[in-house]
Amino acid sequence: MLWRVDGSSRTPLRDQICASVRRGLCDGDLPPGEALPTARELARVLQVDPNTVLAAYRSLRDEGLLEFRRGRGVRVAAGGVARAEVTTAARALAEIGRTHGYSKAELIHLIEGLT
């Protein structure tokens, strides 16, 4: 899978790395159980700070997309693909809602009416 970071973007590098993983999950490049590069390794080839990659991995783990396995590194969590698709769609909804002036409460109300 491809990882993209833009040093001149306003989006923090950590979030850009997270976005690369989410895109990989949604595109099928990262099946469940797939191992990701180590933080140090990815940082070296992307020329970013290893702590930035580690922060991205931890954030994705907290979202339930990745899991840390002692001795086996960072891997895609079971169900991570589906979760990535849902969170990606939710982010898009939040962005569109914000663009059109919807409040958080209005978006939540909208989703409740659909589910």
Binding site: L2, S9, E41, V45
Partner: protein, 153 residues
């Protein structure tokens, strides 16, 4: 589509040869089974069987990461052995499709006429030419994508 000037792109993949891994398990199991019928060398057979199974399993999976900082290759579950080629040591990179004969075998080996081979199967391969003149062939799921990120280094 033009890319931002400060964008950096990296590529990562895992390539596994399940057939090779299965062969290793079977070969190891055969050696362990021999232990049951050769009381003269029980320990050697048991140890040999386990070593064969683990070694073949370990060398049946390769993980590649490539980007502006260079190329890193790791084998198996334990990520060892590990190789890193800094970008300033890489003169060029290209995608090739190499047969078993062209590879001269699988695994990790070097020869003066074929260079370094870090492979788990024939087929799509990332070929590096180093500034030293040496070459490195690495199994890759999408060697074109890997070569592309190196050309943009």
């Amino acid at each position: 589509m033009s890319r931002p000037p400060n964008e950096r792109t990296a590529y990562s993949c895992t390539v596994a040869n399940r057939t090779l891994a299965g062969f290793g398990v079977v070969a190891g199991a055969v050696l362990v089974a021999v232990f049951a019928f050769t009381p003269a060398h029980p320990v050697a057979s048991l140890v040999g069987g386990v070593v064969v199974a683990v070694a073949v399993w370990e060398f049946s999976t390769i993980r590649l990461t490539a980007g502006p900082g260079g190329v890193t290759v790791r084998y198996g579950l334990f990520g060892f052995p590990r190789y890193h080629y800094p970008s300033d040591q890489i003169a060029s990179a290209r995608a090739e499709d190499l047969s078993f004969a062209q590879l001269g075998g699988l695994g990790m080996h070097w020869s003066p006429w074929r260079g370094t081979r870090l492979t788990v199967r024939p087929g799509p391969t990332l070929q590096l030419v180093l500034t030293s003149g040496g070459t490195v062939a690495i199994s890759a799921a999408d060697p074109k994508a890997a070569a592309a990120v190196l050309h943009r280094s």
